[in-house]
Amino acid sequence: MGRIALRNVTKAFGDVVVIPPLDLEIEDGEFVVFVGPSGCGKSTLLRLIAGLEDVSGGQITIDGEDATGSPPAKRGLAMVFQSYALYPHMSVRRNITFPLRMAGMDKAEQKRRVEAAADVLNLTDYLDRRPGQLSGGQRQRVAIGRAIVREPTAFLFDEPLSNLDAALRVGMRLEISELHERLKTTMIYVTHDQVEAMTMADKIVVLQAGRIEQVGSPLELYRTPRNQFVAGFIGSPKMNFITGEEAARHGAATIGVRPEHLDVSETEGEWSGVVGVSEHLGSDTFFHVHDTGLAETITVRASGEVGFRHGDRIHMTPRPDQVHRFGPDGLRIE
């Protein structure tokens, strides 16, 4: 079990309110990702759930029981920290068994669990090393191992991949997703990287300045962002926003079109501009288009290799059903 609910939870450090009243339901077995720009309160929210910070108000329940005042150890949650927080003077084996030893579990069971975890995480050959002798990815796995042996009701991850290089990050992303498939335990995962959020989550919680902007599945957020912030945050490259006359023509204060929802042509189209920088990824090409009279730059994604060069005139047509309309308050207009 691992159902977590926050009701009216607030957090202030002194006079600074980091989390204004906030409600959130996390279902058992879900993979929930908290995503938002740096400093928006993701870690704080996670630490409130973990019990490492006290709430300033509101209630946290875990599996229906009030956990607001319980100490971290009593909540049955396991956390993987950004710095891994391994114990440097203990071997990998002792790191992983630390929570079990603290719980006074018998030796045979400890051994069984460590070996099972090491097997899953490919750490069997490293059990007698110190964390200092491991690579970043291996340390990450030890931290995960230390979390899974406890068989917690939910896992909390705070930007666990941000210290890894790009290639390793993709690999670990898959491993964590696989782990979730296998364990089917609730996982709460914090990241500022919307790609991680989109690829891993069952449910994404988009945060800005401590407020929840939208909660939904990755595709819901992609297809129907509730407001302009979510629209701009989810999706890569970012959505193009256009204001002014062109927006008014669509009956909105701002319209948004994703780079992949613009059809390009050399000869004709609704909008046109001059190609600036182009980024060739092989499978796709991104053009940054200037002088459109609509916005400073418009990013366009074209599939495959398209023959526009710097300075060429390019014509673009938004797909009509893919134009997002936002009111003056930034909220979506259906």
Binding site: Q82, A85, F98
Partner: protein, 288 residues
């Protein structure tokens, strides 16, 4: 110092310092060694060469030698114990966010700046005096018989004075070590179900091991040569005669330079044995 040229210059530049330091250390050491093989009693005009190991045999054979070694070790162990344990305790305390932290830290460090002679005098006359001392007043306030510190428990009293001087050093080193502990490690341990005591034992103490090693090694060097504190308080009486003080007595009071020098060389050997011994036990922390 990357190139051969700059290395050459560097060598020339440090030569004067090396020569001065070598002279500074070697000349007294060689002189002590030289005198230790002489029967040299200047006031009686005796200066006889090459008495072999006679001085050493006399120094080692005297009943006061072994006693002095024991006294030295007790004083060393006692002061190390108090400063290290007290230092850890104070460092943890000072690491808490408290009001007026800066001032408290300066106050804690202050004793380190007081000269040994002065601090010994202050303790002797102001704190430990059985009639007018502050401790006597405290004892009296609780209706207890004031303790005559320097006559009843002289060795313990000196250990107290020395510890008071060296506690700031230990605290300072250990405080910086504690501050470098990653707070996420403590939080991880907390989530792993470790209470305050297991957290201290399994996380904080191992983290401090290196700093404790440094404190012990440095303090040992200085504590072995404690002199002023004994000279000012008990003058080596009442079982407080350390090796250093014994050597002083042999040279100054008995005017026997040869015997004192032999003692000095023995003290150097003893200090090295202790240092090697300590390095063995705790030094392995240093090469991690």
């Amino acid at each position: 110092m990357a190139t051969r040229h700059s290395r050459g210059i560097a060598r020339i530049m440090i030569t004067p310092a090396v020569i001065v330091l070598l002279g500074w250390m070697l000349v007294p050491l060689v002189m002590t060694l030289w005198f230790s093989f002489h029967d040299y009693r200047p006031q009686r005009g005796i200066y006889e060469c090459c008495v072999g190991f006679e001085n050493y045999a006399r120094f080692l054979g005297s009943s006061s030698f072994l006693k002095a070694v024991f006294t030295t070790l007790i004083m060393l162990g006692g002061s190390l114990g108090i400063t290290v344990i007290g230092g850890i305790f104070l460092a943890i305390l000072l690491n808490q966010p408290i009001w007026g932290q800066g001032i408290v830290r300066v106050l804690v460090i202050a004793p380190f700046f007081v000269m040994p002679t002065v601090s010994a005098l202050v303790w002797k006359n102001m704190m430990m005096d059985p009639v007018n001392g502050i401790l006597a007043h405290v004892w009296a306030a609780f209706g207890a018989e004031p303790v005559s510190w320097l006559t009843d428990v002289p060795l313990f009293s000196i250990i107290m004075i020395v510890s008071w001087q060296w506690l700031p050093f230990a605290t300072l080193i250990l405080l910086t070590a504690i501050q470098s502990l990653d707070s996420e490690q403590l939080e991880a341990a907390e989530m792993d179900g470790a209470g305050p005591v297991p957290r201290f034992v399994s996380i904080i103490l191992p983290h401090l091991a290196r700093a404790i090693t440094v404190v012990i090694l440095i303090e040992t060097i200085f504590l072995l040569s404690i002199f002023a504190e004994i000279f000012v308080t008990t003058q080596g009486g009442l079982g407080t005669k350390t090796l250093t003080y014994l050597i002083y007595e042999r040279v100054m009071e008995s005017q026997n330079v040869g015997l004192g020098s032999a003692g000095g060389i023995l003290a150097v050997i003893l200090a090295n044995i202790i240092a090697i011994f300590l390095m063995r036990i705790v030094g392995k922390n240093l090469d991690r």
